[in-house]
Symmetry: C2
Subunit: 250 residues, 2 copies
Amino acid sequence: MAKASDLHSDAARKRRNTTAEKIKQLILLSGLRPGDSIPTEPELCRELGVSRTSVREAMRTLTTLDIVEVQHGHGSRVGKMSLAPLVETLVFRGVLSSGDDLTALREVVELRSSFDQAMADQLISAHQGHDNQSLAQLVTQMKGKAAKGQTFMAEDRQFHAELLAPIPNKLAGQMVTAFWDVHTAVLPRLGLALPDDLCQTAQAHGDILEAVQSGNHDGYRTAVVRHYEPLLRMLDITAAWETQPENAAS
Amino acid sequence: MAKASDLHSDAARKRRNTTAEKIKQLILLSGLRPGDSIPTEPELCRELGVSRTSVREAMRTLTTLDIVEVQHGHGSRVGKMSLAPLVETLVFRGVLSSGDDLTALREVVELRSSFDQAMADQLISAHQGHDNQSLAQLVTQMKGKAAKGQTFMAEDRQFHAELLAPIPNKLAGQMVTAFWDVHTAVLPRLGLALPDDLCQTAQAHGDILEAVQSGNHDGYRTAVVRHYEPLLRMLDITAAWETQPENAAS
DNA sequence: CTTCATTTGTTCGTATGTATC
DNA sequence: CGATACATACGAACAAATGAA
């Protein structure tokens, strides 16, 4: 039993999965890049000397981390290593915290607000001499939908994505988008929706864009605060609603 | 368009692993909290109507996301939902990017610097009337080790953890600690070490602490910049070293 | 369009190490 | 120390999806 010795190895207890580490080392040693094909499961079994079940569990782990991507019936490729696992963890943390209060979700919103403030300099300098036609168009679309009482999830997400796009640090944009995905994924699962502050939110987007284009740091800061104001206010009243069951319909 | 692929992978992820979603729903409906016990694998098989292998793969996914924790031979419990998956993804992204240049690692360091800047107000207000004895002691230890040319990884990590501890938003501290873990995990795997800027780094920690205690916003900002200066400089020269193979020892 | 080989997804059976009593 | 329950691992078989002949 040569395999039994592997089970007793020290790394097996400390680290989660030795097979996953082997596959990661294989990717590194082979010089594979995101999008490149990964050997099939039988090939991995022979090269790593483990069973297909172990390979599959390791691949499941790496798939969860977006280190590999699998396509049923076709094969596996190196993943894009996105922030999807962060989003999934924070989403579940948010819906789980709805039992006591909404601190977990509030922390995400607060952190995103602070982070937006910190990106002021990079945003303004990155948008120098940049074309913002699509951003302005998104703002008008959001204002139009807000006036009709409609939500504008898609436009909101695309606005923030395009706003952060010209920043050289791509990780920053991914982080902001991840935070956006978290709180927009949690709110519907809690049965909540934005109140009648849609117009203020849409207007705040326009103010943010205008401040960034004109290089107005203070205006950007206040616009960001106004942008998150309705969301934080809703979290406040909802938390009070939770902690005061006298007003709750039950 | 990057958006189409994102939507595809998102939909594929949901379609692929329904067992993990069922287990998450079970945790939510049962009102379980982090640390509570989860039904055993045979019980999950009966309740969810799937095989042990499917339950195992789903548990592997949730374990990777730190939504559940497994104890060999004992059972499973609800996890702490930490940012460990984020760290693992960014670490692998960093070591993978060492092939071309070190942009991925640089982005992590830059983003951490931006985060530190964003935490200025909350840090200063949270440290009002707070005891910082252990923080000052950590600074003296770091300075002593730097003077002897020794590294101070443990003290560095504890310093940032304790510095962020009094902040009400716990997610912010976890995020900063996660970024610290990323770049300290990547650097050794690339065979790199900090140059002789140890004294400057140690001094920057002292300046950060002093600025936070005295409520000096500008001093905090400049101290944070000096704190990351040696690290960014090393990334610069290493990237230049990589792109100019004439100077590289084959 | 159909057929077929390849690859991943799922299930079952079995054996072994590990922790608790 | 032994017994029990559990997690871990291996192997085989079949189902589903993809792509090419």
